[in-house]
Structure formats: structure tokens, C-alpha cells
Amino acid sequence: MSDWIKVCAMDNINEEDVIRFDHSGKTYAIYRSPEDTFHATDGLCTHEKIHLADGLVMDDIIECPKHNGRFNYKTGAAKGAPVCVNLQTYPVKVEDGAVFLQVA
């Protein structure tokens, strides 16, 4: 396991929204849920490598902005066509008002 990486201040992510975070050549998507919990997945849709951070968060679902592939961003599970490959998820914690991501 690597160290925890600071992503941003927690207020930089709106409730029910997602941002893009790049680290060591990899893109992640960092989410703030309606219940105010934070989550992280791979940043690119497994269908056509579109950035999920441009997509819409609704309830527990992130919807890809281009072809509407849907994933549960808390579990990474693909939720039907056109995606069938799950997203990897990553641990996230909040400390002193900042969001931290643990990459594999």
C-alpha cells in the first residue's frame, strides 16, 4: 500500500458531485455522495475511456457523460449497457477538512 495522497479540500467537491484527480499518470474520480460521504474510483469509463468526472452523480450512480454507462461509484459495479467491466474503487478518508486518496 502506498501513502495517502491529498486530493483537495473537502469543500472543493460539491455534494452529489464528482471531480477528476490525476496522480502518477493515472486518473481517478472522487465523489461526494448525497449523504456527505467521499468515495473514489478509476477516473475513466470502462466503455470508451471517457472521463467520469464530467458525468452526473445521482444517488449512488455515476453516469458517463457520453454514452451513459452507469456505475455504482461506492462499489464500482457496472450497472448495465454499454458498460460491463466494473470500476476499481479506492479508499478515501477526510482529515482536517481535506480529502485523501489511497492508491494501490
Binding site: 460539491n14 452529489e16 471517457i50 472521463h51 464530467d54 458525468g55 452526473l56 453516469e63 457523460p65 457520453k66 454514452h67 451513459n68 448495465g80 449497457a81 454499454p82 460491463c84
Partner: protein, 405 residues
């Protein structure tokens, strides 16, 4: 269950039947020889990348789902009285429920006399591979029609160094369904990239020779190119339905549950016209990737006895260069427009009806910058949300807030 048409809609329906716990036989019938594949890349990446089609699902997935796929076969008739379809080789396939997902075909240009294979249409993977071989530095391409297909092809051809001229009979590009302000952004970008756009002029004749295509225009000018691609819209494939006595009205006419006028036969996707609830039940036909998916899912549920009505809002997108254009809803009937600037030259135009209800939104920007707002707008349109124009114009007001009021 038999599905006639092995495209996006047909394939989605087949899998959705299984996802809805149907355990009987499913047969997916198509006249192309490929497994169902994605068509949006045909005017974009398929022309640039090494030729290869992107299957919607691998053969193994069809096997695992016990979906029989019959490809490269021609259906000659539907026989509702005996609940079967007939193939050109004389074979029959019985059905309990039949879905027509026959798609659409390119509208032909009557002024053409194809003779040397230089006048092309773009609908299938083979079309894309053929056109691809005619693009590149030093080659010239004339595109007839400045709609989505024509302009996406123009952008891709320019990326490959092709000299491109686009001829459009309408006074501007993207006349159908795209606001003028957004169409102007697209047209300007094409001009900057070196595409010659000629709008407001129509073709009087198009002839081919061994080495070129000659296009005569009504203004007396003549265009010569190595290849011409005609992209002037699509027509629904309705002939089998018509011959079977199924009602047709700008597409196979279905009710709000995708049922045709004949029992046990459904239709979905590009081939069908349906009453759209969010716009008062007026009949529309949509040629769009997501509509094919949504209606495939719905058709599957209703083929299994459901009675759900279509409730989706039309949605289209187009990629040209680094610009993405997204449109949600239909803007006819709008009485006012609200512009929301998102920075970096990207913006969204919202269309409101007389009651202040949002009925359509169109956005353009680099990458997917407008995507979130367009998707939220789509939900607002579906929820028939009345909006405050001033708040809508302000990028500081989150669109999500309109959904919670």
C-alpha cells in the same frame, strides 16, 4: 422471442429480456454479417484507427445469455397470421413476440448517377472502411449535407489531411434541431480547420468518371472531388412492416408502450415513430444511440407483459474536433431562450415554453464540459420543471437545485 434487426436496439433488447428473467428462446436476426456493433464511431474513430468494428457484446456474451444470433440472413416477409417470419432461403422462424428493430437507411440523392463507385453513403462498417481508404493528404472529398454525419465526417477527414468541401441546401449547418448560435460555433470551427462550407445552394447533378466526381450546383458553380459522400438524413426501414399490414407513419407506428397495430409485434429504435409523453403525445421518430438503448430496454419489459410507457427525453450528441455538442429535448414551441455561459467559450441555450417550463437545452464546449448540465436539463425537462430565467442564466446556480424545488 424474435428480434428482427441486429443493431444497438436489437442487441440491447435481447440482453434486456434475459436481465428481466425471461428464460425461453431468443433469436436475434440481422442482415449484416457482423455481430451487432456500435455505429457512432463510424464517422469518427473508425475512419482514423485501424479498421475494426466495436461489437456491442462479444459472441461469448451471447452464448452465455443463450441468445441465438442469426447473421447475414435476409428476411422477406412477416406473417402475422401464423406468427412467423420468412427468410429468403424459404425458411421460417416462428415467434410468440416479435420486435422490429430494423433501423434506418441513408436517404438517397436523386440527382446522382452512380457508375464508378465514387459516390458513397455512410451507414455500415463496410461503408466506413471504404470511405477511409479514400481519405488522406492530397485527396479531396465532397460531402453533401451539413448534418451530424456530414460534419463529423468532415472533421475526421480534415484530421487526416483531406481537402473537404461541404455542400448544404439549407441556409446554415445543422438546421435540424440545433440552435443557430451553436451551429455558428461549429461552422466557424470547420472554416478555421480548412473545411469549405457552401450553404444555401443545392445540387442539380452529380456525375462520376474514372478519376473524379463532378457536382453541378444550382448557382452555376461546379465542384470536383475524388470522392463524394452523401449525408442527407435517413429513412426508417418499414417495408417489411408495411407489407405485413402494420401501420406506418414516418416510421413503424407504435403506441406509447412500443406495440404496433398488430398484436404481439413491437417496434423500437430508429425505425419507429411513437407518441412522446413529455411533449403532449405528439408523434416523433428519433435516430439516436441512447434512444435505441432506452427503447430496447423498454421493449423487452413490455414484450414480457409489461405496460410501461416511453418516458425518456430525446438526447443527441456530436463530436467534432475537440468540441462536443449535446442536445436534450425538442425546442419547437419555445417562446424564450436563456443563455448560460460556462466559461472557456462553452455555453448552453435553454428553451422555455409560454408557461416558463424548460423544454429543451443545447450546449457546446470543449470535451464534455456541458455534459453534466445537459443531463440535468434532461431530467428537468422530464420533470416539467418551471424555471426562473435569471437563475437559469447564472452559472453560479447549480441546475440540480431546480430539481429539488
Amino acid at each position: 422471442m424474435v428480434i428482427l434487426g441486429a443493431g444497438e436496439c436489437g442487441a440491447r433488447t435481447a440482453f434486456a429480456l434475459r436481465e428481466n428473467n425471461y428464460d425461453g428462446p431468443i433469436t436475434l436476426v440481422g442482415d449484416e454479417t457482423h455481430l451487432p456493433y456500435e455505429r457512432p464511431p463510424l464517422s469518427k474513430s473508425t475512419l482514423i484507427d485501424e479498421p475494426g468494428h466495436k461489437p456491442i457484446a462479444a459472441m461469448e456474451q451471447y452464448r452465455q445469455a443463450s441468445i441465438e444470433v442469426r447473421l447475414g440472413v435476409k428476411v422477406v416477409s412477416i406473417l402475422p397470421a401464423e406468427r412467423s417470419i420468412a427468410f429468403s432461403d424459404g425458411g421460417r422462424l416462428p415467434y410468440d413476440k416479435l420486435l422490429l428493430a430494423t433501423g434506418a437507411r441513408p436517404r438517397r440523392l436523386p440527382e446522382t448517377t452512380p457508375s464508378h463507385g465514387r459516390i458513397k453513403y455512410l451507414r455500415t462498417f463496410e461503408d466506413a472502411v471504404d470511405i477511409r481508404s479514400r481519405l488522406g493528404t492530397g485527396k479531396s472529398l465532397a460531402i453533401i449535407g451539413a448534418g451530424f454525419i456530414g460534419l463529423e465526417l468532415a472533421a475526421t477527414a480534415r484530421k487526416m489531411g483531406t481537402n473537404v468541401v461541404v455542400v448544404e441546401a439549407q441556409p446554415r449547418v445543422l438546421m435540424r434541431g440545433v440552435p443557430e448560435a451553436i451551429a455558428n460555433v461549429i461552422a466557424t470551427r470547420h472554416a478555421e480547420e480548412g473545411v469549405e462550407l457552401r450553404c444555401g445552394v443545392w445540387i442539380t447533378s452529380m456525375t462520376e468518371s474514372d478519376d473524379k466526381v463532378s457536382i453541378m450546383l444550382a448557382d452555376g458553380n461546379n465542384i470536383e472531388a475524388d470522392t463524394a459522400v452523401v449525408g442527407i438524413g435517413a429513412l426508417p426501414n418499414t417495408s417489411l412492416a408495411e407489407a405485413a399490414g402494420i401501420d406506418v407513419d414516418n416510421g413503424i407506428a407504435v403506441d406509447e408502450t412500443l406495440r404496433t397495430s398488430i398484436p404481439n409485434i413491437f417496434a423500437a429504435g430508429d425505425c419507429c415513430s411513437f407518441p412522446i409523453a413529455v411533449y403532449g403525445g405528439r408523434r416523433v421518430r428519433l435516430e439516436a444511440w441512447r434512444n435505441a438503448q432506452d427503447q430496447g430496454n423498454l421493449a423487452a419489459r413490455n414484450m414480457l407483459g409489461g405496460n410501461e410507457a416511453v418516458d425518456s427525453v430525446p438526447y443527441f450528441w456530436s463530436d467534432q474536433y475537440d468540441l462536443t455538442l449535446q442536445v436534450s429535448g425538442l425546442s419547437d414551441g419555445a417562446v424564450s431562450t436563456v443563455r448560460r455561459d460556462l466559461g472557456d467559450d462553452s455555453f448552453i441555450l435553454f428553451y422555455l415554453d409560454a408557461e416558463g417550463t424548460l423544454i429543451s437545452a443545447s450546449g457546446i464546449g470543449r470535451g464534455s464540459i456541458v455534459a453534466k448540465d445537459i443531463r440535468l436539463a434532461e431530467k428537468m425537462i422530464g420533470s416539467r420543471v418551471k424555471v426562473n430565467a435569471e437563475a437559469l442564466a447564472s452559472p453560479d446556480v447549480r441546475l440540480r437545485s431546480f430539481l429539488s424545488t
